[in-house]
């Protein structure tokens, strides 16, 4: 059987979900025999999201222009997209800024009030992406095939989700072990 092309991306999160993926520990050695990791910020040097990806784990909410661009590209080029962790599923902690009504209050606090040399708002078109006014969960922007909650999802849950996919089956997200938030 051909190897599954697996990608992982992170949008606005803390990388805890990616760390939990690495907590698969020695199962990663088995996984390496069954998948090709074709794109991943922690496990690949490939710079461009490739075509024809079978499965993609998406960590984080959509918080800036580049998140938006990447999630659209990833959706277009991926067969099975998984919302990976609470930030992807609900926008979670980064979305605490939504109640402030926009990006400006958080930027002002950090760079104008707490910066003491050259206080200014970072702004460098093409390099520093502009923040969106709201942090949004992934499924608000693109279709999501599966939700895997958790902050982060523990490695056991990640393994139990990936294993059926390796057999060409859709994982069943049922019970406390699979669908608990936090």
């Amino acid at each position: 059987m051909a190897k599954i092309k697996l990608a992982t991306i992170w949008l606005c999160g803390c990388s805890g979900c990616h760390m939990s993926f690495l907590d698969l520990d020695e199962w990663l050695l088995e996984l390496a025999e069954k998948v090709d990791v074709v794109y991943s910020p922690v496990a690949s040097d490939v710079k461009e999201y490739p075509e024809d990806v079978d499965v993609c784990l998406v960590e984080g909410g959509v918080a800036n222009e580049e998140n938006l661009e990447l999630i659209r590209i990833a959706r277009e080029r991926t067969k099975f997209l998984i919302s990976f962790g609470d930030c992807a599923v609900t926008a979670n902690v980064p979305a605490l800024r939504n109640m402030l009504g926009g990006a400006e209050p958080v930027l002002k606090r950090c760079y104008l009030e707490l910066g003491d040399a050259n206080p200014q708002l970072p702004n460098f078109p093409g390099i520093v992406p502009e923040l969106l006014d709201r942090v949004r969960p992934v499924h608000e922007l693109v279709h999501v095939d599966l939700f895997m909650p958790g902050c982060p999802p523990p490695a056991d849950r990640i393994q139990a989700t990936i294993e059926p996919l390796l057999r060409g089956e859709k994982p069943v997200m049922e019970g406390r072990e699979m669908i608990k938030f936090g």
Binding site: S15, P41, E69, V93, V106, D116
Partner: protein
Amino acid sequence: MAKTVLIDPVTRIEGHAKISIFLDDAGEVEDARFHVVEFRGFEKFCEGRPMWEMAGITARICGICPVSHLLASAKTGDKIQAVKVPPAGEKLRRMMNLGQITQSHALSFFHLSSPDFLLGWDSDPATRNVFGLIAADPDLARSGIRLRQFGQTVIELLGAKKIHPAWAVPGGVRSPLSEEGRAWIRDRLPESRATLDTALGLFKQLLDKFSTEVETFGLFPSLFMGLVGKDGVWEHYDGHLRFKDSEGNMVADGLSEDDYQDFMGEAVEPWSYLKFPYYKPLGYPDGIYRVGPLARLNICDRMGTEAADRELQEFRDRAGGVATSSFFYHYARLVEILAALERIEQLVEDPDIVSKRTRAEAGINSLEGIGVSEAPRGTLFHHYNVDENGIIKKVNMIIATGQNNLAMNKTVAQIAKHYIHGNEIPEGLLNRVEAGIRAFDPCLSCSTHAFGQMPLHIQLVGSSGDVVDEVWRH
């Protein structure tokens, strides 16, 4: 007419960043910049929340070093409650931090950086990663994975979760270590020590091979800052702050985190979301200093445990005194894992770690608190102002990696100037520029990239600074 080469995204680091390299007409490097392109705004959206929530929320700043925020936040809470943490609470917090240093440094060495050392800077980018390492040297990959697992499991045995445990609280910690947990740690320590010895042996051989990298990956004078304990011993949890220079001279010692605003400033540049902390007496940007493993080894008098002290001596011999090359961060990280394992070995036999008296309870007794802890990547500060009910009025945080921002920028410029000449730039040379950043193991608490999703993006910039043409290179 100038050209800019953009590395987007920088890969195999913790977080999202880009690097721009500015070339002159002759294709020589004029300058380079390290851009952090992610921002979340914790300092604002934590306002109005109860102080007791802060450890849980701020741990979510980072999935790689959640324990650092957990501890810095809990220590800030200790001060707001004006309590002394019971000895068991302090020892348990220390143990969790040592578990974290082990796992985070193992991740940096084995998962993120070793593909460069072992597979080659110029090897195929499609396999130059931890999975490529698994294919090339499964035994080494397995032992590295198991060393990181050891650190993560120490955290889990204490806090019930590997990532974001809700365990350290203002006043102490919620629970002691179980006897089963203690037995597990005791059993797995010898294997962890053996793996570390292998890694140290391997890296020392590489140091001889990589003399060019030692000379170009951030070799320059700067200040070094970190915590030291009693008698100047290496410290990771509590103590006082010390600055030393590249000659080993004491610049400032015995500083308290309570006064950090007197000696640390934070500058802002328009081209990065990461601020630029600097040592105030020298001003910006002259007050450049480095934090993290390299700095901690440079400022301490000794490590305080037997094997790590021997290793520190060898580290200093090989560096010729103060280690001023950022390539030595990798070596320093291994020495710190060794120190962490030795200290865990001592702590696991300490009767206090199973004591049930782990937490002091009190109300709001002070309206301001500043907490500090050594994160794997350097000194972390939390600063809260609260009202009488413990509701957060103001938050400031100075994150370890930010304090290396000036040094990381200087490093990418130095590497680019050494390796890049002419307009045709092989991918392997750009990987060296990225590897200079990997040496710092920056923790940018991630976001994404890929607006331009091409491996190389070349812009032609006119004298007025306008982009007059763009070239994408696949």
